[in-house]
Symmetry: D2
Subunit: 183 residues, 4 copies
């Protein structure tokens, strides 16, 4: 049975529906997205993320909006605009990076202590298909939450009326910076 169904089964188990799944079977689950396991250190993480996002002037300039904020998981949407395109009329990879980096950064930020600031150390983006669509959604998720370093990944989907397509992926490193003693 596939890992995908395992995940399904496990999830269902936790909802008290399929309690007889053997243990050796659930071991496969560790490749599941684990964002839901994260405990935010600051109960006010949502308002902290929203406040910081509102201070990213570039988000208003490109008309991006924050649509999901959960522990270790943030989603940002961007409508298509001709003003953001490269020479073929697709969204420029740098603009895709802009919302994916912020999705990763704020996903990490949800897990940081209240006094911390978030800084991107590095990221890498793979472009899988032209960024063509009516709007775009960057889904950022934390994969590792450390004391000061965080690793997050983002997927970018291009959406039109009927379709949804994965067009880019990102993996990046974020840092929690204490304003009292910056790196």
């Amino acid at each position: 049975m596939s890992g995908i169904l395992n995940y399904l089964t496990f999830t269902l188990t936790s909802t008290n529906e399929y309690s007889d799944i053997p243990d050796h079977f659930t071991n496969c689950f560790t490749r599941i997205d684990m964002s839901s396991q994260f405990e935010p250190r600051d109960p006010d993480f949502k308002s902290r993320v929203m406040q910081s996002f509102s201070e990213q002037s570039v988000m208003q300039t490109i008309n991006a909006s924050l649509v999901t904020v959960e522990p270790g998981h943030v989603e940002i949407e961007l409508p298509y605009r001709r003003e953001l395109t490269q020479q073929d009329g697709f969204i420029h990879a740098g603009i895709s990076s802009t919302i994916m980096d912020s999705a990763c950064g704020y996903a990490a930020f949800t897990l940081m202590p209240p006094e911390a600031r978030v800084l991107t150390i590095e990221f890498k983006i793979n472009l899988l298909a032209p960024a063509a669509g009516d709007h775009f959604r960057a889904i950022g998720k934390v994969r590792k939450s450390g004391r000061s370093l965080f690793v997050a990944e983002a997927d970018l989907y291009a959406m039109s009326d009927e379709t949804e397509k994965l067009v880019a992926t990102m993996a990046g490193t974020l840092m929690a910076v204490n304003p009292q003693k910056p790196e």
Copy 2:
């Protein structure tokens, strides 16, 4: 309806096991691995991967073995050996890269036509925790399958008696090279 949900529906329907899953639940599925959707172009992909793996001399040198070969999905295991460590006794990041790169490369290779050779264009690795454990498993999965370019990701787990820990992630680009007209 989104492509992801279409896929989910298909998977669920085709197994006939969980037909009564409520809609709000399927929203969780957006992180599901989709490798099983890939159709190999060569029905003999498994023997082709096994043959090529057996020709990677470095795999015997480090004692790595191929443990799973599915369409767009390959797993490689490596036992811990002191001879492969860096200065703190952990597996060297380059050795972790060796099995992760081969896991990505062969995951892509499962989807290539019979005459193709596989070439790594680039990869990036994030190290999440020291590679300490009894043995290690690199799980490589294709995220995009193109005509000549493939994007794959790998996770590396360190395993001991009771525990399993994600210690590294990789994203890379692979190329199908036709020996008659190489890049």
Copy 3:
């Protein structure tokens, strides 16, 4: 004799100006960028780059300009604007990526045949310091020129009245796409 020294010798010989440079000095040269060795396949590469750049609407939106176009080497400048910043008032890493990616892409484009289009496959950016300054210059250079694949690197400098600081580096893969037979 090494390829690097061959190159140096060639360069020096071909200028006939510095034939008596002592050995200890030529050692400095081993890190010299070698883009000037590239022969453009299209003598009209400059106008082709300028035309394509003018079609990148995002460049006008962020007010970036093309300042240097040489074989395998392109520079793009961006003035600081509050509208392009993240939460601390620095230029957002995605905007830095926008001009660095275009600098890499057009550096590769200078070496492509006239009919080709350029596509970014992937890039990675390391952020070395906050992008604070009056204006910014992305310097993109080709490191490998292949038949269809190119590898380029970019450095981003933040400049103020008296100072110039390296704030980010990028390495990326670009592809020459023939519109008649796209990847």
Copy 4:
């Protein structure tokens, strides 16, 4: 005047040998590596690097040797051996990564305080050509030296009797870890 030209001027001035170099020539210098500007915090950095390198068991396993250790600059050599190859007889990208990662890591380590340990956070490698040759040299250089974070780059050259070829490039992030308070 730009920081780069300041640096150049300083270098040239400090040697008092080439005060009359024409402007068009000094333009070549803008790509010069600046590692020699780094001041090691520990005068014993060389023996510290050599000690740590000797503790990387994998280096003996693959027969790599440390050939240059300067502030912010380390070179590692590896002879070709069939035991380290992938399926086409070239050195496996993971083995190339092994010496490039160590070259980056030790380049950063030369600049760390005496009590620090060095940890790789992430790296990305671009493969420019097959790693074919008699031996290989990884040249690692620091591009940014911070309080705890370092960014370094490495180039990998494949060498044979008469030729030397750039076959791979790496950019990575390293961390100075204080054993008393690890990340």
